[in-house]
């Protein structure tokens, strides 16, 4: 259904990873992304993989839910894999096949393509783990802290954060609304599944127009409700939930840094086996 399409839905269970500070989690995700791109050989990827596996186990999110994130990008992964396998050039590479369509495939390009696909997969798994273990509100709080330094340049970070949390808050509401409107139009015989792409796009109009008007109506109502509560964007606001750095975050940080150094070690001092 439509609800499944939302990227990385929050998985509500209690685990040490869930209870970590969202700001720390975002920073750790950035380190993790660096780590994925720094890894150059099998041992490096193994270290990243072990790190990911331990984190998933600690988060108590079933592997299936994490793996679902790849559904959205499997085409991109396949595409980069194929492009790399044909066009990656490196000195001293040995040609494996050179028949008909399978030209220029070398051992190096094959390995490179596999690594590239691995990188994408690890990237998707890691980032979906962040959204699976932190609720949208926590995420926005984390991002707000992350962007705090930008206030020096007079960028209204707290307003951006508010906009983001409102947008996130309304995704499920609008999803529900969409489903309802789709059902209502289906009951009037609308057909969203047949015909060519233009016909289908046109068939969506009876859904999009009511959806847009209802979104505008909701926005207006929300604005009124905020006015009624004397909301003002210029006054300094206090936080209901303060982010705190706890021992869990420290363990997470140390673990991540340890893996990062392991990856760098693998790159520089270990001779690649494959």
């Amino acid at each position: 259904m439509l609800k499944d399409a939302v990227f990385g839905q929050y998985y509500p269970v209690k685990s040490p990873v869930h209870r970590m500070d969202s700001f720390t989690k975002i920073v750790l995700l950035i380190i993790y992304i660096v780590m994925v791109f720094v890894a150059k050989n099998f041992w490096g990827f193994l270290a990243v993989g072990v790190f990911l596996l331990v984190t998933i186990l600690a988060s108590k999110v079933p592997f299936k839910s994490v793996a679902r994130s790849i559904k959205a990008v499997y085409f991109i992964i396949a595409f980069t894999f194929i492009i790399n396998i044909f066009f990656h050039k490196e000195e001293g590479a040995k040609v494996l096949w050179d028949v008909w369509l399978l030209r220029n495939i070398t051992d190096k390009s094959l390995i490179y393509a596999v690594f590239m696909a691995l990188r994408f997969t690890l990237l998707m798994f890691g980032s979906s783990l962040l959204t699976l273990t932190s609720s949208p509100v926590e995420l926005t709080n984390g991002i707000e802290v992350l962007l705090k330094p930008l206030t020096i340049f007079k960028i209204p970070v707290h307003i951006l954060a508010l906009m983001m949390s409102i947008a996130l808050r309304f995704i499920p509401t609008l999803m529900e609304e969409t489903e309802r409107i789709i059902n209502a139009q289906k009951a009037r015989g609308a057909d969203f599944e047949s015909g060519n792409i233009f016909k289908r796009a046109k068939a969506l109009l009876p859904v999009l127009i009511p959806l847009l008007t209802s979104a505008l109506r909701r926005a207006e109502e929300l604005g009124d409700a905020m006015d009624a509560r004397c909301f003002s964007s210029t006054t300094k606001r206090t936080k209901f939930k303060k982010l705190t750095f706890s021992w869990r975050d420290l363990i997470g940080l140390l673990f991540t840094l340890a893996t990062l150094s392991a990856v760098i070690l693998c790159n520089n001092f270990l001779v690649a086996i494959i």
């Binding site: 309802r180 409107i181 059902n183 209502a184 139009q185 289906k186 009951a187 009037r188 015989g189 609308a190 057909d191 047949s194 109009l205 009876p206 859904v207 127009i209 009511p210 008007t213 209802s214």
Partner: protein, 300 residues
């Protein structure tokens, strides 16, 4: 055309950790000609149930028979022939045409530039071969059926007319396809008393003239007592009881147990009986008043 439901089960998020039952073993028969009420508190499964009736929700287990249509659980086959798919689709369209569905706040589904265009949407979908002239006649009929002036309203935008008119136009948009069964989810929600009264009159007129069976979802027991010939009570996905309003509302304990309130007439009848005045009423306002007046006269 009777509606026969047999052992309907439905779970949200089936197969996951978050699976919850919305319907449990619901068996219910709604006879042709009835003005049927479905009552229950919020989240009792009544909306889920009515969406089964025109296959907006695919059946998970059980069976529904509506006239010639048979709905049951069908595992989705990956390799269905195109012909088969097409046949399924046209059957589905026929069913959706036969069972008209008016959702809660139907005015939020209006989309077209003009009222005329919006009302004719269903006709064009269900009967693509209809000529322009015929579409116009059907549209005119539908708009007049809901008590609006066709020539006054047809070229207006559905976003500029009043709330009550919007709802009528939305209902006309369903009636235009000439359904035999009409299902309405909380048709009176958000209307003022006058609009509510007019809507009930409209529904009774439709029931008398064009629609064979009307099914109403409501949690206003007064409406159900006054207008329905028969009703069913849902509670947490379970069908608790089916019967005439008289049968249902005599059992005050059951109604309270389901998180609902009995209609005012039933409450008064109960209180009066405690004081020695026993009325045999069917709980419609008219009947209650007549019986009460008689009782007072007799006491004198």
């Amino acid at each position: 055309m009777d509606i026969i439901c047999n052992n309907i089960d439905y779970q949200y998020n089936k197969g996951t950790k978050f699976a919850t039952y919305a319907l449990k073993k619901v068996s219910l028969t709604i006879k042709e000609g009835e003005f049927f009420g479905i009552i229950g508190h919020t989240g009792s499964g009544k909306s889920t149930f009515i969406q089964h009736l025109n296959a907006l929700i695919p059946i998970q287990s059980g069976q529904i028979t509506i006239g010639d249509y048979n709905l049951f659980f069908e595992p989705t086959k990956k390799r269905e022939s195109k012909k088969q798919k097409k046949r399924m689709k046209s059957k589905l369209k026929d069913l959706r045409r036969t069972v008209g569905m008016v959702f809660q706040y139907p005015e939020y589904q209006l989309f077209a530039d003009t009222v005329k265009e919006d009302v004719s949407f269903a006709i064009k979908n269900f009967m693509p071969e209809t000529s322009e002239a015929e579409v116009e006649i059907l549209t005119k009929n539908a708009i007049e059926m809901v008590g609006l002036n066709y020539f006054e309203i047809k070229d207006k935008s559905p976003f500029e007319i009043s709330g009550g008119q919007k709802r009528r136009v939305a209902i006309a948009g369903v009636l235009a396809a000439r359904p035999q069964i009409l299902v309405l989810d909380e048709p009176c929600a958000g209307l003022d008393p006058k609009g509510k009264n007019e809507l009930w009159q409209l529904l009774h007129r439709l029931h008398r003239d064009v629609i064979k069976t009307i099914i109403i979802v409501s949690h206003d027991m007064n409406d159900v007592a006054n207008h329905c010939t028969s009703s069913a009570i849902f509670d947490h996905g379970v069908l608790k009881k089916v019967g005439t309003p008289k049968q249902l509302f005599s059992d005050q304990a059951l109604i309270t147990e389901c998180g609902l309130e009995v209609p005012v007439t039933a409450y008064l009848t109960n209180e009066l009986s405690k004081n020695g005045i026993v009325l045999d009423t069917d709980f419609t306002t008219d009947d209650f008043c007549v019986k009460l007046a008689n009782a007072i006269k007799n006491q004198k």
